[in-house]
Amino acid sequence: MNAYAKRVFNLAYQFSGSYQEAEDQTQEIFLKLYGALSKFDFQRSFTAWLLTLAKNHLIDAYRRTKWERKQRDDFDERTAAGPLAGDPQDALEREENRRLVWTSLNDLSPDMRMAVILRDLQGRSYEEIAAVLDLPLGTVKSRVNRARLALARVVEEKRGGQP
């Protein structure tokens, strides 16, 4: 239970950018999960099924409430957690890049955002992502690539806009 809650909560937090919103969305996803358990196909992976349900809920909620107008949580120690080892200059640059990635996620469409979160922030394999998004492998690879290009452009734009 805790492991599933952790996966859903982190997906919701990375997608919405708000800790409070992520807690509410996780609760709503679990409410839906208990309601839909009777429809679970035992031939399928439970994790993939749960994450598909979570992904559908998050994208629907995003379209309904237009989170893109809201700010993401500040990129603070909680968001940036994880020691940045190595040369301090490199560590600083990496932290700045992390901050830019975090703030730029809201500029991606929900499908693109979900693809880049699953692949790059969560490190899932293309096969896992294909199962979650319920798409062919080739489509997933192409979507992840387009999402990365879009993110890189937004990040560079934000970097260029800084003094």
Partner: protein, 167 residues
């Protein structure tokens, strides 16, 4: 080679899954295209930044709420899931407060006296407003009287001036 096709290969290039011949073609393109070179450099920076992105443990309060869902569903099985959503909780809390307030006014004995006091204040306020309105009316009438006096005085003054100039 235009830029669209090479850019489609960037992820596979960074992940090292490109066919060697395609890889060489892409590297040839990159050598002569500063735009693609810069975009690829941006992707490399993002790649390094997102490695080891932190994951968080859900708060104990959230875990408690999640664990309570099966029990709540049994207890409130007749209620559609949509009404159990956390986003509706502030609405329900507001509605409950409003109901308590309304019942306090209409049902409790102290509520009746409160209602009477409110009615009295409304009544007094209405009377005060009427008095102000009546006073305002008399002031307007008085001002009208002053206006007539001033106009007739001015006319008389004009007549006197004219008769002096004629002399």
């Amino acid at each position: 080679m235009t830029c669209e096709r090479p850019q489609e290969l960037f992820s596979a290039y960074l992940e090292g899954t490109l066919d060697p011949a395609v890889r060489r073609d892409l590297e040839d393109h990159l050598g002569g295209c500063p735009e693609c070179e810069a975009l690829l450099a941006g992707l490399r920076k993002i790649d390094a930044a997102v490695a080891g992105w932190p994951e968080f443990e859900p708060s104990p309060a959230l875990l408690t709420r999640l664990k309570a869902i099966p029990t709540a569903r049994k207890k409130w099985g007749f209620v559609p899931d949509i009404l159990l959503r956390p986003s509706l909780q502030p609405v329900f809390a507001g509605a409950a407060l409003l109901l308590v307030f309304v019942s306090f006014i209409f049902l409790a004995p102290q509520g009746r006296s409160f209602q009477k006091a409110v009615n009295r204040q409304v009544h007094l306020g209405w009377n005060a407003a009427e008095r102000i309105y009546a006073k305002a009316g008399s002031v307007t009438e008085r001002l009208g009287g002053y206006k007539d006096n001033v106009v007739s005085s001015l006319r008389t003054l004009n007549i006197l001036k004219k008769s002096e100039t004629e002399k």
